[in-house]
Symmetry: C2
């Protein structure tokens, strides 16, 4: 079997040149137009001597121009490190240097931020890119499925972000697996209000090319604009997290979405019952999913007919995918038994960039050990109990407690630190911190927040800091975060009295 298949965007521009590909604000671009735009940018990449096997980092917002650059990089065969634009200069510096990207391409609006970045390779602002000379563009005629096309950083238990390598094949299989699950209609249009620097947004772009489907791209999530555009463009599918869906329902009030809307693809943890009931009442089909950067998006999905009956479940693994629950020794566990969730499928990452040991530790015999805890019920439906390393999901962003703890511990006045997530009406979850001071130190909440602001993206800042005498740790000194959650509940309980 050949592993080389035609350049997706070029093929799509050949098969359906006049089909709408991208709608951004007042502009609509066909696949032919998107291809031409991307090809023009590719000609500049060629002039920059960026081609197959090179690497580039990109920093930009949700914008049509960003899509063209992403497509150009993919067509040119440049491994693309897609940076999260909400990170601080310090966080970005770390990822840029870790990935060893040959060039940083950034939107003009981020010039202030990039000025603070510690990175000594070439930087190209999108303004400059526009003015740059063109060369005869060298674009790939075929994509080799086993080749890496994108790298997205994700934090883990250690607190050090790791670059997840995604191949052309990973994205291909993710897109086709999704279509086998959700179906594929000629009239499909996908609304993207999630960041295209995350796999949730980027995967929509891949589906667009592979399906020949228009994407309606928003700069960010604005519930009123969402409802307006679903109506105006007859959007059929949208990717959301719970808080977004709640806000859409709040604005909808007593009204409904048009009948043409057929799928809310809901990631980032299970939806609460009242939300699902409200959706049911409004005939909004909710597909709850489980997926992560390492699985190149959607991996398991619960179809709407089960959403209430199997409350809290993320469904079953998509057609090419498999899920097992294992104990600490890697032995498969029976139904209804908690353990680590491990996953296998052709959409699973080939590993972490320049981290062979961690890759070998996480991916064993083609099974990715997610670190997430869950169980399968007797019918094989997945229930996720704890996200890996007590992951906090806040407004669709992943926050790793260990990363915040690392920053807090770097303060000379801090003896110990523990971070957990707590429920928040607006964001779903937010981080809170527990601090043990060094003896004889004068340390305020403000001191610590100031430090965090320097080091951490805004969404990662602890919403509350509690000073305590000691942290609950087991014999092996492992932090017992569940204990912290009990403390928090007790703390809040006492305030309510």
């Amino acid at each position: 079997m050949s592993e080389g298949i035609p350049n997706w965007l070029k093929k799509r521009a050949d098969l359906s040149p006049n089909q709408e590909a991208l709608i951004f604000e007042e502009n609509t671009y066909t696949f032919k137009e998107v291809f031409d735009k991307a090809k023009k940018i590719a000609s500049k990449l060629t002039a920059l001597q960026l081609g197959r096997g090179s690497s580039a980092a990109v920093l930009f917002t949700n914008h049509a121009d960003s899509v063209f650059i992403l497509y150009a990089l993919q067509m040119a065969g440049v491994r693309t490190v897609i940076l999260n634009n909400r990170l601080t200069a310090e966080e970005l510096s770390w990822q840029l240097n870790d990935s060893d990207a040959e060039v940083l391409i950034h939107e003009a609006s981020f010039t202030d931020k990039t000025a603070l970045i510690d990175y000594n390779k070439r930087r190209v602002c999108t303004d400059e890119l526009d003015k740059m000379d063109e060369a005869d563009p060298i674009i790939l005629e075929e994509y080799e499925l086993q080749e890496v096309t994108t790298i997205m950083y994700t934090s883990g238990t250690t607190g050090n972000p790791k670059g997840v390598m995604q191949t052309y094949g990973n994205h291909w299989w993710s897109a086709t697996a999704s279509s086998l699950n959700l179906g594929l209609h000629e009239q499909d249009k996908w609304l993207c209000t999630v960041p295209i620097f995350h796999i949730s947004g980027y995967s929509i772009l891949m589906r667009s090319q592979i399906y020949g489907m228009p994407v309606i791209l928003h700069r960010g999530f604005e519930e009123k604009k969402v409802i307006d555009d679903i109506r105006k463009h007859k959007i059929t599918v949208m990717s959301v997290v719970s808080t977004m869906l709640r806000r859409i329902l709040n604005v909808l009030g007593t009204e409904k979405l048009p009948d043409t809307f057929r799928c809310m693809l809901l990631g980032g943890g299970p939806a609460p019952l009242p939300l699902l009931e409200d959706c049911l009442e409004k005939d909004i089909p909710v597909f709850q999913t489980y997926g992560m950067t390492e699985t190149s998006s959607q991996f398991a999905t619960l179809s709407p007919e089960y959403s209430i009956k199997r409350l809290g479940s993320a469904g079953k693994a998509l057609f090419p995918n498999q899920i097992r629950i294992v104990d600490a020794d890697g032995n498969e566990l029976p139904a209804q038994t908690e353990g680590e969730i491990i996953v296998k499928g052709p959409n699973v990452t080939i590993g972490y960039l320049n981290r062979e040991d961690e890759t070998a530790d996480k991916i064993r015999n083609q099974w990715l050990h997610t670190g997430d805890i869950g169980y399968l019920d007797s019918d094989g439906f997945l229930y996720v109990l704890d996200r890996r390393s007590d992951l906090i999901i806040s407004g669709g962003e992943n926050i790793y407690p260990a990363e915040i703890e690392g920053v807090l511990l770097s303060h000379p006045g801090v003896a110990d630190a523990g971070v957990i997530g707590t429920e928040d009406e607006q964001w779903g979850q937010v981080p809170v911190a527990f601090i043990v001071k060094n003896e004889a130190t004068v340390l305020s909440e403000e001191d610590l927040l100031e430090l965090c602001q320097q080091k951490l993206a805004k969404y990662k800042l602890p919403k509350q800091i509690y000073f305590v005498d000691s942290l609950p740790r087991n014999a092996a000194k492992k932090l017992l975060r569940r204990k912290l959650r009990e403390w928090l509940e007790a703390e809040r309980g006492s305030h309510e009295h």
Copy 2:
């Protein structure tokens, strides 16, 4: 990227157990039921010591039981030689021995035919299979995409049929490529009246498993039953060749098919203009395709909006596929220039069974040289001018002139023989033969037909035999079939006067 994906039928029975999988005559089977049936047969295969890497040949008709056996063999990992039940005992013997199949599993109704087969390995009649002991079934948990699952024989220029090896991956990619082209609706139901021993029918079974889609299986093509079932079951898609479509239209008369019907997938050569016009008038969307056993079905497709505008075209290569036109030296030719059609894609066969030389000759650098002649227009649409080795397509069956010529030449009274196809109202095409007798031989049309009946399936018998003084051959002694066609036209012209 992992190449192992879950056992399709088992996965489907897990994901959508109660979904209809197969409707045959008065019986409907869900995916759970089909899986259980196939698993039961697999337990007998295990008892027969047939498992991964074994090979079995099958001879049966379009029947639910045949589907269960095919699925059982696929799940057990047995390479399955799928025999054309219209072949003579002599033709079957050749394929059985060439493939070296370990066992022949045949339907009870073919006992008379198999009695004449020259094959000294195990034979199992489906009646016996039913009564056979069961073992704990050993079925594959995963399918390795690069492994061969089916072998279908196809003749070629030499007249010797060759076993085309199709991998799990070939069928997977074919099914997904088709869905990216035709879309995938929850309500889809595919009508199969073409033989499941051909790739046209077998590929429908693969799509059924992969999409989770019901197949309505008919024993054969009966236009009235087709129309009844399209109405009764709300069938959405059907695979046809031109003659079938014409017969459907004739019976439909002034009536229409229901709105739910969305696709006539038309293979076996381009449709004539009047047929397409009639379909347009009746709102029957016709998707003309180009494909072959070596491409595991559909490879290029023309969407209905182009059917009249690009009359005679087979459209463009499906998303993962590529088509080029080359000259005799393998150089790519520009648009509008005739040459050999070569194809590349992950649905293209890995080669011919036990024929390394022919495989190397036909598949060069992952490009399959089809032997078909055609051109691409300036927009990239494919036009097929001559099927490989002047292939004759009669009622959906491929007939290779060289094979019939070989039989005719085996008669001691025949000095030379040439076969071409000619148009036929009922079958699309039928073969006719031109014979040069040996001097001093008394030879009648009946003598030759008698010989052909022994050696060739009925549909391959020449409908007319012309005795001539010599055959048109070029300097290299290559038969000029186009010249024969001119003779035939002249011959018929003279009869009309």
